[in-house]
Symmetry: C2
Subunit: 227 residues, 2 copies
């Protein structure tokens, strides 16, 4: 499903060069449930942005679901993203002027789904994350954890081939964390490939494989025993 | 230091009323180190915004460091906040167009500190959080955890009477979490009152007292054994 080879990503800031990803190779098969761990600044979000076709890289190649996506145009990336990838960002990225319901419907608008079907599927997703009673609210009228749950609902609503999540349980209490990890496990059991960043070992234990980053390199790769 | 009595906060959204804080009374003495826990949506950030004079409440009273702050004007709140309170938000709230260094200097600009002293004190704070090598970067050029560390540096730079932090270690790996909690413990040992929201029991163990919210009410209040 995901075949990354020798990927290098360099940031140029104020005359300095920072190698954010250094010769990273990673294969994730269809149906896997992989977590990405590593210290602050080790390259996890950079990796997720590249996997999610939100950012380009300087060297290497990326094949997603059989298609070479190493150098797509912006339009082509947007099209593949909408069709194949559900993305939960580290900083929510909800549209502040739209209601919760409209935010969750957004990926389906791009995919030209009918208004009636959008509404139904958005409500199902919001019920899954426990927020069906907040549909008329705006993002600045809900708590941090609630924003994150809206972001998750939005990411699953187009039934993506791959669900990518950067710290999806970062702002959630333990009870909600369990509920969200169960949703991810159910999606995975249905065939969705799931890749998530987490810095909490307890959360990684709900996944099936843990890859660890350090200073922009992939340093470790382990299966989880009894996920 | 903090004396909150019978505080009630109601949000009115689209015709509905939500009691976000319901008859909350809380006393925090000078020099305490208190963590606030509770499920997603239970009122923790609402509580922190009121404690930090960033938001008003509908009933009750709030005395901060001997001063009745229940109904200050916006200018008066800004003045008390800048002088007495260091605040770390749940969503960083850094100025996107300023450099890291300028962001950390900002509270001192308001307090009319000289440019030379601002620079020195900002560098000391950034070294404490391990980011002295990122001073020229902008917020969108650093990782999630790095943003949070900049926010912490900014909160401590005016040597506030009370340091308030909403999920300060939320996006940080375990090593950085320990470093940040040690900074908070050092500040507390020097006499700073610290109040922080966390959803992680391990992190709350570094504090001295845990108050728990549920559905907008204070439900529990325990000292930590052997912090
Ligand atoms: N500006 C607002 N307008 C309307 N309702 C709000 C607003 N801010 C918060 N709320 C509601 O008030 C309740 C408490 O929110 P709060 O942000 O204090 O929760 P929290 O304990 O910080 O949650 P989390 O752990 O998810 O960050 C929630 O039900 C939320 O939807
Ligand atoms: N837009 C950018 N411009 C310049 N440097 C960047 C940019 N984004 C990230 N970096 C740098 O690249 C490195 C990796 O950042 P990244 O956001 O991938 O880390 P991370 O593992 O997600 O960290 P965290 O756990 O703190 O979120 C960091 O040193 C960061 O400062
Ligand atoms: Mg990150
Ligand atoms: Mg909150």
């Amino acid at each position: 499903m995901i075949d990354l080879k020798n990927v290098k990503k360099i940031y140029h800031t104020g005359g300095e060069e920072l190698i954010a990803l250094n010769d990273v190779s990673l294969q994730i098969k269809k149906g896997e449930f992989t977590s990405i761990m590593g210290p602050s600044g080790s390259g996890k979000s950079t990796m997720m942005n590249i996997l999610g076709l939100l950012d380009r890289f300087d060297e290497g190649s990326y094949i997603l679901n059989g298609q070479n996506v190493s150098s797509l145009t912006d339009n082509e990336s947007a099209h593949v993203r909408n069709k194949e990838i559900g993305f939960v960002f580290q900083s929510f990225n909800l549209m502040p002027r739209m209601s919760i319901l409209e935010n969750v419907e957004l990926p389906m608008v791009y995919a030209k789904v009918s208004a009636k079907e959008r509404h139904e599927r958005a409500m199902i997703a919001l019920e899954k994350v426990g927020l069906a009673n907040r549909v008329k609210h705006k993002p600045n009228e809900i708590s941090g954890g609630q924003k994150q749950r809206v972001a998750i609902a939005r990411a699953i609503v187009n039934q993506p081939a791959v669900l990518m999540a950067d710290e999806p349980t970062g702002n959630l209490d333990s009870k909600t964390t369990l509920e969200i990890m169960k949703i991810f496990q159910d999606l995975n059991a249905d065939g969705t490939t799931v890749v998530m960043v987490t810095h909490e070992p307890d959360v990684a234990q709900y996944t099936k494989r843990i890859v660890s980053f350090k200073d922009g390199r992939l340093m470790d790769d382990q299966l989880v025993e009894n996920p």
